[in-house]
Amino acid sequence: MAIKSMNINQTMKHPKEIAFTILMVSWVMLFAALFLAYALLRFKEAQWPPMGFEVVSLKWPIVSTIFVGLSSYTLFLFSKNFKSNVKKAKKYLYSTIFLGIGFLVSQKLLWNEMNATGLDVGSGTFASIIQAFSWVHAAHIVMGIIGLTWLLSFATKSDDLDFNFRVKHVSKFWHFLDIVWILMFVTMFLI
């Protein structure tokens, strides 16, 4: 039997876009649940950080924020350029990947510092939520970096429709993780 292409009716959106939107909803819910847990634990305490705990030094969180913010910017530039300017785009993509890895390193240093100053996960909910939340986030950053390396073959595929979706969706995911980190940074380290 000849396999005919399937007819899409009643929608102008490509199935991959719809599917990715649903996936993003799932991820939003995952992080929303973690924020809910954080909010409940925080409001239960009379003060935050709880009695006897020092605030975490802002050094590594600020470094992380700079890395992840810059990486979002370079990824944006990559998605602007990957069709027109291969050389530039390559530079931007590699920068994004390196900034992503830099983010992971700064996170590891943050955890080390917290552990060294007595804020290890077993010390109470204050350290637990900061560390566990950033573990989950970092695990997604690892997924994001895998997604970014999946884009490395862009030079030969920039006209391929599927590849264009790939760029769009990996970018959306990466920017989403950027936003989550900034929310974490503001709620956990600044206020």
Partner: protein, 574 residues
């Protein structure tokens, strides 16, 4: 706009055809086998639980000495906890979910909306294989040194923390649920996209069979709320493995104590939608079957679909009614109670529409219809008893008694089980190209119906009398001693129900090989899957059909072609 979809060719080898298949029909059947296997495992656990409650301190017959050699065949207390935990987990996540959502979702969605396959076949295949990994993790946990999880299917801390249940069992339980969540989310993304994008030309949302409505709404709830449970079990795993203190309170937490109630919040934000995740596919199927076998258009089909949608939305707002006894503020309990009660309105519309469909129909009592009417009966009971639990004042007394167990078994176990059987008997001819035996099916129905009502009605009675759930031997309390006879009755009913499944197993296996060859449309129904041969060819439809009328066009007096129904591909006769 066309989309090159499903480029895979017909498979030729055993592995590509039955194991690593991209075909939604095969994946549906894989989920069916998977679900039926776990249904058996969970059912055996139920019998062990029932035996312990009816005959405390007596050896389990036949298998007892084999299973529990150290206690001379008596179910030990810690094993009892593990049994009711895994019975709940297995039935909900590994039996109902794969059968109702995995099997019927995969099998029916493309066929009933006139598509050649799911939107993402590879994703679909992975969804099943990830589910297998999850099942392996759970079964594997039984063989760890301290046994499987034993903190109840809800896994409330502190029972589920290292303080309450040391050992690897509970950790594996968390991982298993997380992995299954990934699998179900992948399935849900696929179902939602397929329904949105691949309905046959001419099929609007209200031309979809109500089965598809149910499965679609279920998938939406799954995609939104499974990640919340995912977050909960991740945190619980961290507590257990890395020593975080989210759910530890009091002396167990060294300082800055965590909150065991936090887990309940996260669990029930997912858990209440989960109740509807499980029942919506059954509602959809029953709404269709009642019309198909009453030979009448579904009464208020649009209102039924909209009621299901309303219930879906409301189900996300009521989770607090599971937590009335957690010292919640009265303002909150009353809010949750009121929101819970509003669900009665769309439920009543839905229920009235079922009765309206049956009213003055020329009913054919084929097995799918018997099971569907069974669902109407047991769901009515389950829904009504829910009102007592949604009301704060009565719930304070009934909370965590067997009344709750009876109630949720009526809604989730009885309704969904009967709905699943209705679907199995209905689509078996399409799935395997052979008919199941009607006489055996009817015997199966009546034994199951009598058995399950005995079990679950009995549970509500003992619950009302004050019997607490999850007690190893409730009869150490003097006021419960008088309940031993009725517990024996429940256990005999459960045994009857267990025996009643044998005709089904025999019927299923026998019909698979020796059943009467099924015609393309044995039930004389007009939805798209019955316009093609049984079993369908690879890629389902030679030509993508064009839909011209709704799914429930029965008994139109103007029909002149000798049939009392219309196919969805035919122009509506007016």
């Amino acid at each position: 706009m066309t989309y090159a979809h499903g480029k895979h060719a017909a498979p030729t080898t055993f592995l590509s055809k039955y194991v690593f298949s991209y075909d939604h029909k095969v994946i549906g059947k894989q989920f069916l086998w998977y679900g039926i296997f776990f249904l058996g495992v969970g059912g055996m656990m139920a019998l062990l639980i029932r035996w312990t409650l009816a005959f405390p301190g007596e050896a389990f017959p036949v298998l007892g000495n084999l299973l529990f050699p150290h206690t001379n065949g008596i179910v030990p207390p810690d094993t009892y906890s593990m049994l009711f935990t895994l019975h709940g987990t297995i039935m909900i996540f590994f039996a109902i979910t794969p059968i109702l959502i995995g099997a019927f979702g995969n099998y029916c969605i493309p066929l009933m909306i006139g598509a050649r396959d799911m939107a993402f076949p590879l994703f679909n295949m992975l969804s099943f294989h990830i589910a297998v990994i999850s099942g392996a993790l759970l079964l594997g946990s039984l063989f760890t040194p301290m046994g499987g999880a034993a903190g109840g299917w809800t896994s409330y801390p502190t029972l589920s923390t290292l303080v309450g249940s040391p050992g690897a069992g509970q950790t594996l339980w968390c991982l298993s649920i997380f992995v299954l969540g990934v699998s179900s989310t992948m399935g849900a993304v696929n179902y939602i996209t397929t329904v949105i994008c691949f309905r046959a030309p001419g099929m609007g949302y209200f031309d979809m069979p109500l089965t598809i409505w149910g499965l679609w709404l279920t998938a939406i709830l799954n995609a939104i709320f499974l990640p919340v449970l995912g977050a909960g079990v991740i945190l619980l795993t961290f507590d257990r493995v890395f020593g975080t203190t989210f759910f530890l309170a009091g002396a167990a937490a060294t300082s800055g104590s965590g909150d065991p109630i936090l887990f309940q919040h996260v669990f029930w934000i997912f858990g209440h939608p989960e109740v509807y995740i499980l029942i919506l596919p059954a509602w959809g199927m029953v709404s269709d079957f009642l019309s198909f076998f009453a030979r009448k258009p579904a009464f208020g089909a649009k209102a039924t679909a909209l009621s299901m949608t309303t219930i879906t939305i409301l189900s996300t707002l009521v989770y607090g009614h599971h937590m009335f006894t957690t010292q919640m503020s009265p303002l909150l309990t009353q809010t949750f109670m009121t929101l819970t009660m509003t669900i009665s309105i769309p439920s009543a519309i839905l229920f009235a529409n079922w009765l309206g469909t049956l009213y003055k129909g020329s009913i054919r009592f084929d097995s799918p219809m018997l099971f569907s009417m069974g669902v109407v009966f047991v769901f009515g009971l389950g829904g009504l008893t829910g009102l007592y639990l949604g009301t704060v004042s009565t719930d304070l007394y009934l909370h965590d008694t067997y009344f709750v167990v009876g109630h949720f078994h009526y809604t989730m176990a009885a309704s969904v089980l009967l709905g699943g059987y209705a679907g199995t008997y209905f689509w078996f001819p399409k799935m395997f190209g052979r008919m199941m035996d009607e006489t055996l099916a009817k015997i199966h129905f009546w034994i199951t119906m009598i058995g399950l009502n005995g079990v679950f009605m009995g549970m509500m009675v003992v619950g009302f009398a004050g019997m607490h759930r999850r007690l190893y031997n409730p009869f150490v309390y003097e006021f419960l001693e008088k309940l031993i006879p009725i517990n024996k009755f429940i256990t005999y009913s459960a045994l009857l129900m267990g025996v009643g499944q044998l005709p089904f197993v025999w019927n299923f296996v026998y019909s698979l090989y020796k059943g009467k060859k099924a015609p393309a449309n044995p039930w004389e129904v007009g939805t798209l899957e019955w316009t093609i041969p049984s079993p369908p060819i690879h890629y389902n439809f030679e030509e993508i059909p064009t839909v011209r009328c709704g799914p429930h066009e029965f008994g139109n007096p103007k029909l002149t072609n000798g049939r009392d129904f219309q196919y969805q591909t035919e122009e509506l006769v007016e």
